[in-house]
Symmetry: C2
Subunit: 154 residues, 2 copies
Amino acid sequence: MKDNNDMPGHLARRFQQIAVAVFLAEVEDAGFDLTPVQYAALATIKANPGLDQVTLAGLIAYDRTTITGVIDRLVQKGLAERRPSSRDRRARELEITDEGRRTLRKITPAVESAQRIMLRGLSAKESEELMRLLRKAIAAGNELSRAPLRAAQV
Amino acid sequence: MKDNNDMPGHLARRFQQIAVAVFLAEVEDAGFDLTPVQYAALATIKANPGLDQVTLAGLIAYDRTTITGVIDRLVQKGLAERRPSSRDRRARELEITDEGRRTLRKITPAVESAQRIMLRGLSAKESEELMRLLRKAIAAGNELSRAPLRAAQV
DNA sequence: TACTGATAGTCAGCATACTGAGCAATATCA
DNA sequence: TGATATTGCTCAGTATGCTGACTATCAGTA
């Protein structure tokens, strides 16, 4: 019988579990209330002003049905705005608000600290190697999830 | 601005996302309907007959409030049984059923295949190294989540 | 034994994630 | 142009995961 520790799927779940807990703890210590998912969405909206929801989902590999709720909460917190697209009446254009920009700026140290903490058991070289291997495995498996990463259409 | 691909937390989320999708697809192809979480719980019940819910949660690092629902579904599918403990009237003893045992046996090839597929971008050596680094990072971060891994009390 | 603190389990509530379905709008092509 | 396919978004339903609160029970101790 294989041990859980020999199952990459189980290890993935555990590492992700710790990563989320560390992120939330650091962000809360900094006085903010933002999830990892909300942070990634907000940062991506800031970097790509006016993008629509499907494009946003593709850039961070979220399912399109998940992104709806995430944006709802960003809007409800006053960090982002959703308005009808002028080019395509089905689509919604997303913009970050000033409040969202301020939050992103202030929260950055906590986010970076979280990334360090979740790797605290590894040396710098090991951390690099872990990220390299994860990127490689993810690239090969990208199309296997319902929400693959998609480059923006420019 | 840091790219998502430099954030271990984001990579963790992506890898976990792919791992779950691959697991579900392989298991469904084999004709079964079992999630990764349910599988791990069932396998652990089989390996530790009569254990209580808190011990089970500790062995697979689930939150105790999560395990309730997972066991509900295993029981509802007829794969496990929950009965009052004779030693502690607060506790429930968990047992796998014959049906559960049969399911576990038949599902094993699909589970193993899933673990291979989610690492298909990596060589054997790289896969080993990825698992080693994940184990190391997880060990160092174990206490940082609400549901740390706990050895069984023997 | 009575009090106190800890423990086992559950529940309500919230936030991801997914499946599958549906609506409105757009794109494509005969 | 008109039929068809596709796309953007939303919703209902289900399954993790978490926080925080609660009940019942147990364990240790004054």
